[in-house]
Amino acid sequence: MAGVMHNWSWLIPALPFTSFLVIIFFGYKLKDRASHLLATWMMMLTIVGAGLLLLERIGGNAPEQFTQAFTWISTRNLVIPFTTNINNVTAIMLFMVSITAGMIHLFSQGYMKGDVRYSRFFALISLFSASMFGVVLTDHFITFLIFWEIMGFCSYALIGFYFEKRSAQLAMKKAFITTRIGDVGMLLGIVMLFMTGAPLRFSEMPAYFAHGHNPLGATLTTIIGLLLFCGAAGKSAQFPLHVWLPDAMEGPTPVSALIHAATMVSAGVFLVVRVFPIVAASTVTAAVVASIGAFTALITAILGLVMNDIKKVLAFSTMSQLGYMFLGLGVLAYTAGVFHLINHAFFKACLFLGSGSVILACHHNNDMRRMGGLARFMPLTYATFLIATLSLMGIPPFSGFWSKDEILGGVYARAAEMGGAYWLLFIAGEAAAFLTAAYMTRLLFLTFAGRFRGNDEPSPDYVADMEALQQQQVSYEVKRYGESLGGLETLYHEDEEHGDDHHHEVQPKESPWVITAALMVLALFGGFFGLLGAAPIGISWWQGFIHFGHAEHEATNWMVVGISTAMAFGGVATGWVIWGLKPQAAMRAFRASWVQALRTLLLNRYYIDAFYDKVIVRGMMEFAKALWAFDKWVIDLIVNAVGAGTKLIAYAYAWFDLWVVDGLVNLAGYMWLGIKRVIRPVQSGQLQHYMLVVLISAVLLWLFKYLF
């Protein structure tokens, strides 16, 4: 019985891949219902499988590091196997991914109902789930890269799921290219690992990079670590490759929950977890990982304060929390980093699904200016959303508090050890915790509290934003098709059942059971999973289960616990005062010119996107134009000259062929015509002529015999 599921672990990616194959090839024949049933039930099976796998690990029925391989490519000095590498982190990741993915499949049945490309959606999220399981399971860096890139493709295809929308097209390109930039770094890192003879298999890295006898030397380890971190930063949307994630919210909300909150963006963190021996072996790499994480956590948390789109707030929150994870791993708090990864995946998936439920209730309007008071209409969504929000804010005793506190405790310990600038990491982390609580309070107030604003006269800034989007779409359509097809309103007829009345009253109502069931499961995990590692109150199962090297039992730093709790409650209180109570002083301060300037700066995301657009994208375009001009005026010139020369030679040769070669051939023919005219009369058809010829010949022969 021992380790049965370990031996069959390849089934976990294989099952969703099967449903992908079936749906992508036969989905157009199947009913929508068949697609989602197949995909969802396959995911339920993988939940069972991943659960069994986790139970086997907890029960100690499997070795510390279980690997199972079949060789894929084998050359003299490179062997690439498809290997499963199962340790405690793998098992818990598989469990998390299967639960979130399964719940999101369930949720999608409700959310995507009646969608134009329903079966394709399920095919793509199945493929995505399969590749995410592959990323988690696989042991070899090359196969890891394969699954990693399939994930990237799925992300690309699902961000652009509504590819008729200009904004979705731009977002999908941005996401794909930005993550590619990181992946190039990762690929270089893999190549360097291979060139230096370091192992490409994760299971061999801890022994190779063990403290004290790292054969590569500090510099090489640092370079490799930083290059690999490029890939992680691209995938996990860390500064400076963070620009794609907010735009990725163009995809359907379940996709945002699955790919851009719970799993794919966590895969970057998971990469750092897998190569943690390399990170831990280089102080510089660890410091870079930590500082990038802390910086991203802080700047994106600030952006969360001003966004109007509910999904964008959550997207910035995701980046911020991913920054926390990197911060944790960067200060070598391995246990805490993985802990936050799992907790965050659960509660952020719940939050995104909750926002999806809200968006569904508001007839596919993401904008919080058109929401409000939804707690009354959708109590289940509100309750689950509240639990996940409290977890994210870091309010005890919910999950997020324990893991965030553990990370900050790790940062504190590291800062106390290293001193100096490391204290900035701690300050940034605490500040981000404060801001997290504040922007989530704002989100709660805008969405669930007060009065429903969906049927009000739209505010001028909302109208301006919508008109900008409409303008973008119309100008694209004019450029693409020569005329406008009607802009955004005609694209997807989500409200068809309501006839042609587009300005009907929005009446929010609770979502169907598939949505609320998924929300409740995720809220359960998102809110309370963290209790497994609640070290300050004496539960440290997690710390014993997940650790790098030997399990270390640090004494609880009650000061950090206090500061974190104070920050969380302080953030909530601040948010409550500003967006809940709305005192006169706050309103006056909000109208001050410098606050407005700051708000504009934040709404434009510090102009980083604009900077990239102006400098990098435009620069690349100009470079490409220069290359095009070179191609047109130099390369093409040479090619055309060669072509013209060949043509001239061909003309000369054609003349020669016509008059000389053909002439000789015709001459031979005419010669035979002439000869024919001479010898033809011999064959007269007169029998007697022939007999005469025979006679004459005989006589001549006879004469010859006698004369010569």
Partner: protein, 150 residues
């Protein structure tokens, strides 16, 4: 039997023998030729028949006459076959049908009989063709039957 060497007359550009000698030889030849019984006489008859046949083929215009001339040619050849067998035929031993020690092989006669048979068949086919041609073209003039040319 004297040899007839008419064509050796001009060998080496001068007369090998005088005209009188030639006449004398020819006279001797004639005198002996018609009284002897040997292959030469048969060859002469056969050759004459063959030449007569050839002449007929060359000069007659009626296709039936040409056919008849071919028959004469064939019979000339037959005479020569039989004569060859009679004087130079292969002697074979222990033939099945005789007690004699040595008999003449009948190959020449067999050839002659075969030729007669074939000639009969050929005459039948030839006449049939000529009749068919006559019906089609209303002529049996061999000079008009010249379409098989070029």
């Amino acid at each position: 039997m004297p040899e007839l060497h008419l064509l050796v007359l001009l060998q080496d550009g001068q007369a090998a023998m005088s005209l009188a000698e030639v006449f004398a030889q020819f006279g001797a030849f004639l005198r002996t030729f018609f009284v002897e019984f040997g292959p030469r006489q048969f060859f002469t008859v056969g050759a004459l028949l063959f030449c007569i046949g050839w002449y007929g083929v060359l000069v007659r215009r009626n296709a039936i006459a040409v056919l008849m001339a071919t028959e004469i040619m064939l019979n000339g050849v037959n005479v020569i076959f039989v004569a060859f067998n009679r004087w130079w035929g292969l002697k074979i031993t222990r033939a099945a049908f005789t007690a004699a020690e040595q008999v003449l092989s009948p190959v020449g006669q067999v050839f002659a009989i075969f030729i007669i048979i074939v000639a009969a068949a050929e005459a039948a086919v030839g006449l049939a063709i000529i009749i068919a041609i006559y019906r089609a073209r209303r002529t049996a003039n061999i000079e008009d039957l010249n379409t098989m040319k070029w």
